[in-house]
Symmetry: C3
Subunit: 294 residues, 3 copies
Amino acid sequence: MRLHPEVAQALQTHRAVVALESTVITHGLPRPLNLELARKLEETVREAGAIPATIAILKGQVVVGLTAEELEAIASDESADKASLWNLGALVAQGKSAGTTVASTAFLAHKAGIQVFATGGIGGVHPHPYDESADLLVLSRTPIVVVSAGPKSILDLAATLERLESLGVALLGYKTNHLPAFHSPSSPYPLPARVESPLGAAQAYKAARALGLPGASLVLNPISKGLDFAQVQRWVEQATQEAARLGIGGKALTPFLLRRISELSGGQTDEANLRLLEENARLAAQIALALTQE
Amino acid sequence: MRLHPEVAQALQTHRAVVALESTVITHGLPRPLNLELARKLEETVREAGAIPATIAILKGQVVVGLTAEELEAIASDESADKASLWNLGALVAQGKSAGTTVASTAFLAHKAGIQVFATGGIGGVHPHPYDESADLLVLSRTPIVVVSAGPKSILDLAATLERLESLGVALLGYKTNHLPAFHSPSSPYPLPARVESPLGAAQAYKAARALGLPGASLVLNPISKGLDFAQVQRWVEQATQEAARLGIGGKALTPFLLRRISELSGGQTDEANLRLLEENARLAAQIALALTQE
Amino acid sequence: MRLHPEVAQALQTHRAVVALESTVITHGLPRPLNLELARKLEETVREAGAIPATIAILKGQVVVGLTAEELEAIASDESADKASLWNLGALVAQGKSAGTTVASTAFLAHKAGIQVFATGGIGGVHPHPYDESADLLVLSRTPIVVVSAGPKSILDLAATLERLESLGVALLGYKTNHLPAFHSPSSPYPLPARVESPLGAAQAYKAARALGLPGASLVLNPISKGLDFAQVQRWVEQATQEAARLGIGGKALTPFLLRRISELSGGQTDEANLRLLEENARLAAQIALALTQE
Ligand SMILES: [Mn+2]
Ligand SMILES: [Mn+2]
Ligand SMILES: [Mn+2]
């Protein structure tokens, strides 16, 4: 594992650092939008007063804090893999490059000593039996702050919330009592706790750490000016029915659904996606600052 | 975390201590029965020769071993929350008061160095997909003796037993080969191990600790003079059908079911509930003593 | 826990050791085939240059590396139990003897300091809700190399693969891109990583250990000259339908299914079973050697 010197120094001097994932760069967005977004997120973290640390696997090395050149390299690498926990060792041993998922970024950021990680949406329970993202178990085992806009829209939200409860993941609604639903700021599902400020989130995380709780503190940050929950659900339903008609399933299903809801929304979901990523990066930086200032 | 001086001293001098949960006080029983029961359980532990340590969150502080005044305060606090793992950090950071569930009590008792915890029924798998109590994962991660009368009556017993197996929780039938079913002393489901005495339970727990097993040793103590299993199942089924007819679901379902089976049984389930709590507290104290005496 | 002197010395001097399970001896094969197979597997490990350590519970003692006499004793002990995590403490405390499952063998081998474990098939998700082998969670918590020919034929392969992903278990196809299916060398389900040699497997495991990943590296070794996947699936389906007609379920189902597919295949599955065990023992020894030689 190699840390960017700026990140290493910030951690040693207890300054605010925010980890950022990289599957959004390698698999989430078309080129060159992916690089623009990656730079924008780092800039957002800096503007809020923290040091960004984008994490990725570069030729078999875990890099925590990509340089500008490395960010360009991973954003243009069409052969980059997706690194989750179940292939991380092999990718490293075989000298491959990969974007890191929520699961592997949270794991690696924590190993590096970073306390706050910003992402877009977390994984969860798919509406198929036994298809559950590796993000959930990692969240239950990794004591780090994760800032997200909620589980991705195509997931079974009620089941995902139940699993987060079963797994003992600390849930903190950011100025909300209900689970944010990624493209939508709210959903019908109540949350067990709420915070009103970055400091409030930092304090809840510190209390959880002091008690030795093993899991993450998941800060759920509703998107500003998001889409209507029922409307998004209808798009997801329509896309799901189309997939069934076309016989699309397995690993091809999620990309198909995402593309179709983008089309059905006339691009509104794409725009929301970019905005929430930026908003989460900003809030994560503020929480990281609050953690250093207390 | 603040320990009652008597509890702290007992732990330092390796004397027997039994942790008790407090959601049974804040959410499980009507006032003033809840305070009477809480006192009765502590008394039962003392009579059996051990020190009781009722655990709760009081104004943001984890208290292990409530004083008599604190027990009264939490029993009369109508605004007390329910603290599980997913909201524990926030409750502490926000200065709130709460009863602790099986999951959070087991976690906190173990952190405090207590080896034995008595409760009534444990949580498990609800007959709805993905609704699984946080108790189960905590039991798989926390090396403590938990004495219980089995999973609560409204749960899917077969599924709960399967999950306990999958999670590697050590199950010890107390003088029984079959899973006790809370209000009923037995069920059709066979257990993998059986002990005949408090010493037998203590020895199985010590063996598990010596091997470094990460999970709990769950002592399953059949209620004495309990209700007939098939009869309780029929009440649960009837109550479940009524809930469906009335459109009752979500968080409102469990309280409704418990109230209805109480009514349908003419109060027999309430009486059984109190008796099994006392019996479990007594057995827990005996196991705690056996642990100190070997 | 008692280690065979030869095993203890090999571990101290960093020589190659391969753990072997013992439920295949106590519950998997008829006598005297079970003892012959157990000896054959140890011999195979030795021929490949490593020290075998068959693990079992003998009269309440965990033994890592049975002597020739102990191997005979456990192979002829008709009362031997099956030790998984949920009864291990009780078996030890009560002085019983038992074969160890994949779950308990992986756990105990890792505790003993052994890095490689060979078995036949791993457990997984049964085609019944909530029936999931304890092997899976142990694999997600135990950083050891496990060499297997895939999940057993009667399991839901797709669901098992999903759970392995959710649990973050590192999967390494041995010269294959698809999940091996125990009696069959392949299945339609793609794997996330592939290695080409014992050294490749050893390097992926070392990388995972260096990163601090908590789970196993599961090396999936396709059986040579195995049976056709679709054919085995048909036998399993037929046996499952017969079981339903005969009202066979619960703990009796798996033995019934295994016996019937043996009969339906005219003994071909039994022959495959023995061959894959030997092949896995050999590959495990080669990986253990590669781990010492780098
Ligand atoms: Mn999946
Ligand atoms: Mn629930
Ligand atoms: Mn099972």
